[in-house]
Amino acid sequence: METLLVTDKTAAKPVEQEECYHCGDPCTAGEISLEDKSFCCDGCKLVYQILDENGLCNYYDLEDAPGIKLKSAPTDDQFSYLESADIQKQLLDFQSETFEKLTLYIPAIHCSSCIWLLENLYQLQPGVKQSRVNFVKKQLTVGYDPTEIGLRQLVEQLASLGYEPHISLHNGEEKKAYNPNRTLFIKIGVAGFCFGNIMLLSFPEYLGFDGPMDAEVRTFMSYLNVVFALPVIFYCSTDYFLSAWSGLRKGFINIDIPISIGILTLFLRSVYEIVSATAPGYLDSLGGLLFFLLIGKWFQQKTYEGLSFERDYKSYFPLGITRIANGVTEAISLRQIEVGDTLLIRNREIIPSDSVLLSSRASVDYSFVTGESEPVEKAKGAYLYAGGRLVGERIEVLVDKEVAQGYLTRLWNQDTFSKSDEGKWQSLVDQIARYFTAIILAIALATAIYWWVVDPSIMFTSFTAVLIVACPCALALATPFTLGTAMSSFGSRRFFLKNATIIEKLAGVTHIVFDKTGTITEAGHSAVQQVGTLDQKGMELVYALVSQSTHPLSRKLFSHFTLQKGLALQKIEEFEEIEGKGLQGKVDSTSGMIGSASFTGWQDATDQLNGASRVYYVIGDQHGYFEIINDFREGLDELIGMLKGNYGLSLISGDHAAEEDRLKSKFPAGTTMQFEQSPQDKLAYVRSLQERGAKVLMVGDGLNDAGALKQSEVGIALTENISSFSPACDGILEAARFSHLAAFMDFAKSSKGIIIASFVISFLYNIVGLSLAVTGLLEPVYAAILMPVSSITVVAFATLSIHLLTRIKKL
């Protein structure tokens, strides 16, 4: 195996940079290595060793650096709840004495090496009897012998390799859901089968064979056609009838009504003609119509199965919670938490319900819930809101409110979450359908009346011919194909939508609301400024100190130093971390400390100023501080520049107003800015905008935005890593593509233009067909040609224009 060797020529002392053999991250050669392979951290090295010892190094041959960097070492009892029989029962698909089977959702699955390793788990754990990866859904179905390996050990093994499954009650409830696509596939298959056969049997009619063909054979073929048409009507078309019926009952006309009328007229008239032996009918058109329509439906229903857009708080909360009752710890599920329980919360775990802190102190990271950027220190007796993530030592808390009544979960009791989207919004095609249906019925009636007066013998034929030809097949195909293609264009540019109709909604947006923390500011990206004296040695000491700590400010300093040239990571001695205060240690007889002002002995100094955090240091006689400013996302300026003329903008943040001045310089004058907003406030703000007639796009990232994301017309969740969890939303945008948002919105608007152009094309076909129909000239063979040709033109036009547009717009 060859490793990539990059020599930096600009540095005074050449630093050899290599890529980690396991995960591909940059690392320093020779620092952490085994044989000739370099690793970026001990975690990666350890995984390599495990695989190497078990002869599973094929993992590295299939793809280069396929590994997943372990972000945090799994704690000893992180998965202890999996031993609870109650939880096991909820998770397992099958359970017996010697065999258990379950499906795990593992977001880290990303390449063929992953598939290979996970399907060769039995080499690592003989207790595993079978394992199978569904790559598209990022799921692992694993069967094992519970007498050899427990569920907990299995999950721990996976986590230690970097394949930590996301286990939540939510997917426990969801897993039995039947894939609706299967039914659609079968319907398409049946429709295609019937369509093909009917066409084949209609060939004699197309070619006008009169001579040697027996009348009996011809009748036989016609009746066989009717047989083939039966599944088309009674199986494939049911969705359209049901949708038309429910539309009628609710009192609005959707596109499925003219389609249903067309389907029924086609079928009934054809059967009548065949039975009365007057004409061969239009059953081939019927089959083709359904076949194309269902393909359009499939195109529109295409979704990103690996992503979930419907998560509520249950997906974030731990599945198992440790309760301390009478001095004994037991694993219980979220539902079993009662007021007055004492719970044990470990490092990196989420506090499941509003509760009171019993331990002496705790550091809680609320960034996901409130938008505050730094972890908050809490002392004994403090009130802890649900949803915060514990950073540091384990704590005990006393439950004060039930899970469903908590600060965060109350959000889900709002009626926004119980309402479904149906009926609230009408798509362009449904708006057109209303007029379309009325016009078609009027033309059909006018034709019938005219022929009744002129020549009653062809009244019935021309009336039904109008209904058949007017069946808006091409019209119904225009939207799914345009939006479906646009959606996959977006997807290949890392913007994933829940479904294709979101593009239409995106095109109508008039107001954009941004969240601050994590949305326009970047979590891991910050500017570091050093004030005071600090020499090379001191710098290296600070570097070594922060490398040992997991505090967010330490991580920021660490990534800052890692980028600096010529700085070597030294070995640290006498390292000590004083939780919530700072770090101290020694490198080559230079000792020093770094941390809060009070810890380092600074007088009259603050840890927070104008939204910047300060970390003080005292190293020998050198002292000073690092100022860490939350940096805005790259491309924010250009994005705001492109958006400001066309949309109303707002900024709404759960954080304090410290950065208001800096933000004001970024946004155009008159932008509404609100700070210290609770999740409920955000939702209310979006609602108030909507009441003033705005169509709102909410861009957020955390659970605290969940209400606003749901309430808004379009809610987009921004995430650093697509496979990580994001709140329920309409679209997930990769953070690196943030500045492209304006381009996406522009593209959505153009897509709407393409839909309208497709409508025009399909109307033109309808006019040609109608003019034939009203004059009573519509032969089956014309209908049979016109229907597929119009559909194919529209589909080709829609698909090609979107592809062309992607090129032109340089999306």
Binding site: V133, R182, L224
Partner: protein, 59 residues
């Protein structure tokens, strides 16, 4: 001409068989994962290299 009727029925039967195969494939979930099988077929069955017995194998 009766032979045509027979032939048509046979052809429908054959086509029906394939339709059945398609439905079966869909119902057993063969269209669920469209990426996995393409990779899986390329995996070697057993490639367990005992490293300790072949120290020279490393480049």
């Amino acid at each position: 001409m009766l032979i045509i009727v027979g032939l048509i029925l046979i052809s429908v039967l054959v086509a029906g068989f394939f339709l059945g195969a398609f439905i079966w494939a869909t119902k057993t979930g063969q269209f669920e994962d469209t990426y996995g099988p393409s990779v899986r077929i390329l995996f070697d069955d057993e490639k367990k290299v005992d490293k300790k017995s072949s120290p020279a194998a490393q480049e």
